[in-house]
């Protein structure tokens, strides 16, 4: 009887903040904002002994990029600044004026576009043991950017969407979105295939 008369006491919520702070501090300490972003590459499979040597590639089809231990770039026999590499690579891959010294083209059946001239380009990248990792990544990045730019151009022209957006769409969970996007990505890649070949490293002085 007497109990019902007693007023229900409020629970003190003051320590709630303390508990939350404790958890907060824990997450603050363990958190790392670095996410796993990176340049994706595929390594060539290991060399098999007495493998047939690959057919020779014509000089005009190869874009040679050398990086030495002083972090200097030699592109097609000329000293070049990293800032100009992307432009040079784009010109090489697309060869808009069909120049003699730039790569040849071959008519190839591409999935959606039908017959398209596809460049026989190969980019050869060679670095010294003393090249800094930073320069190496910058070179990789510029070459990747060159391909992406050309793919974007083609994709915009043919589909009206950027290649990077198509790539995003192809990862979608919705099959009705991802399937056509995947086909388009594949077609664009067939026109501008990424061919970056890395030579076995050599000691070229420092």
């Amino acid at each position: 009887m007497a109990r019902s008369k007693r007023e229900l006491q409020e629970i003190n919520a003051g320590s709630m903040a303390d508990i939350a702070f404790l958890l907060l501090v824990f997450f603050l300490v363990t958190t790392t904002m670095d996410s796993s972003w990176g340049l994706s590459r595929k390594l060539p499979p290991p060399l098999i002994e007495d493998q047939e040597p690959p057919p020779p590639i014509k000089d005009r089809n190869v874009f040679v990029v050398l990086a030495n231990a002083n972090d200097q770039l030699l592109v097609e026999g000329e000293l070049m600044d990293i800032a100009n590499l992307r432009e040079a690579a784009i010109e090489f891959i697309s060869n808009p004026q069909r120049k003699e010294e730039l790569p040849e083209f071959k008519e190839v059946d591409v999935d959606i576009f039908g017959k398209m001239p596809v460049s026989k380009q190969v980019i050869s990248l060679q670095n010294d043991n003393g090249t800094s990792y930073n320069l190496y990544i910058q070179v990789q990045n510029e070459l990747e950017a060159a391909y992406n730019e050309l793919r974007n151009q083609l994709s915009l022209e043919k589909f009206g969407t950027k290649y990077s957006i198509l790539e995003e769409m192809s990862k979608s969970d919705d099959a009705s979105v991802s399937e056509p996007a995947k086909a388009k990505v594949k077609a664009v890649r067939q026109v501008y295939p990424q061919r970056i070949s890395e030579a076995e490293p050599k000691e070229t002085g420092s």
């Binding site: 919520a13 003051g14 709630m16 903040a17 939350a20 702070f21 958890l23 907060l24 997450f27 603050l28 363990t30 958190t31 790392t32 904002m33 670095d34 996410s35 796993s36 972003w37 990176g38 340049l39 994706s40 590459r41 595929k42 390594l43 060539p44 499979p45 290991p46 231990a69 800032a83 670095n127 010294d128 043991n129 003393g130 090249t131 800094s132 990792y133 930073n134 190496y136 990544i137 910058q138 990789q140 990045n141 990747e144 950017a145 992406n148 990862k171 490293p201």
Partner: protein, 157 residues
Amino acid sequence: MSKFKKDGKKNTPAVSTASLPDIVFMLLFFFMVTTVMREVDLKIKLSQPDATEIEKLEDRSLVDYVYIGEPTNTALYGTLPKIQLDDAFATVEDIQDYVIEKRADRPEAVHGAIIVSLKVDEETKMGIVTDVKQELREVQALKISYSTREKVNKKKF
């Protein structure tokens, strides 16, 4: 005059702290959602290079990490770049075993999708990185990713 005078009898009411837990919880949830547990204790100096054409590694459970850089404790380990696998320093020869061991932990169906993420300090020379890459090729760990930060897009000229 006495309009603004404090009334001695009236006590200023305490600032209510009732909403403090709400604020703290809000922060807490933010960090809980964005947090990624650190995989290892870094024993090397790691300042990653910048790049623009980067992709996100979607499935972290399929990623193995190889760290390369100058040891933080230079008095003990010297300044030459070293390789770190999990929580310990390793040599180039250990890479093959490490990759095979990590691969064995996962179901066979996903073996082809495993990516090795190279987290390399930007000042490292390519020699050691190339050695690591050669080892990875030997064990058919061909999918790699050079871990980078995102470059802030600013005009170059």
